[in-house]
């Protein structure tokens, strides 16, 4: 069974009857990481690679990553390109409108640190992490679809390790 392969080894399956025993965390995390809905949002040349990744060759759909036209439906924003200061205020607002848990993947050099605009780009935000918390950085200018997929798998890994129970860790 496909579902059973995706859940981890702690799952127990009974020989008869449709009963599966697992932890609530594992079940929740599995459902969350299998349907990461992304914001329908592109910024610059990285957005072209993002679209290529969405298209049939690389097929983001198979990971349950579907573009959604409203931030209220979304789990992740791919910051796909140069973030101007003018756009940064909009991104902050979109991020604030997303329901938790929410994730940010910073794609390409511009979103990571300003890229080629780091010195003379008066209008460019030198890294999206100055305004919103970033979960995964994907380097490249722009990153190839394989690199973006790797980054999204890292986001899945991150979700897989989360817990709904509050811990006392700082």
């Amino acid at each position: 069974m496909g579902i059973l392969n995706k859940l981890d080894s702690r799952i127990e399956q009974f020989e008869s009857g449709n009963i599966i025993i697992t932890t609530a965390d594992k079940l929740l995390n599995w459902s969350r990481l299998s349907s990461i809905w992304q914001m329908f949002f592109g910024l610059a040349c990285c957005a072209i690679e993002m679209m290529a990744t969405s298209a049939s060759h690389y097929d983001l759909d198979r990971f349950g990553i579907i573009p959604r036209p409203s931030p209220r439906h979304c789990d992740i924003i791919l910051i796909s390109g140069t973030v101007t200061l003018k756009m940064a205020t909009r991104i902050k607002r979109l991020y604030d409108q997303m329901p938790s848990p929410k994730y940010i993947l910073s794609m390409g050099s511009c979103a990571n640190c300003g890229g080629p605009y780091w010195e003379h780009g008066y209008h460019v935000l030198k890294g999206i992490d100055r305004i919103v918390p970033v979960d995964v950085y994907v380097p490249g200018c722009p990153p190839r679809p394989e690199a973006l997929l790797e980054g999204l798998l890292k986001v899945q890994d991150k979700i897989r390790s989360q817990s709904i129970a509050k811990t006392n860790k700082a």
Binding site: L85, A88, L125, K126
Partner: protein, 159 residues
Amino acid sequence: MEITEIYNILNTVFAEDALEIKTDLPVESFFIVKAVAINPVCFFLRDEDSLQFDSLSCLSGVDFDKDNLAVVYHLYSYVHNHKLTLKVIVPKSEPKVPTVSDVWATADWHEREAYDMVGLIFENHPDLRRILCPDDWEGFPLRKDYKVQEFYRGMKVPY
């Protein structure tokens, strides 16, 4: 039509000191037009049958030298297949140039960009707001003495 012929036509209509021809430079020849005359000169260039500059190819703002800004107009006539360059030079202390957006509608956004980037003020422009930078941006980024602001809405701007 050659630039000297255009100059002779303009000279019969406009005052002697309204425009000056520059042909001795290694670049393409151009006119330097007084700021006050630019709007009527452009109307004339557009409407005169033998000239018919029906297209403003480009309008650029320039940080010209230490004390001056300039506007450069590149005109083209699809009817006569000739072209012309005009320059208006104004002091940085009072960088006011009459708009030509009533002559060519193209000039509307070009003038907004020139205002946004080098701070030229186009008088009688219908909607002179910044076009690229945010409305609350400080300074004019393509001025040679531009210093970038430290923060924009709480976001640090320099690297």
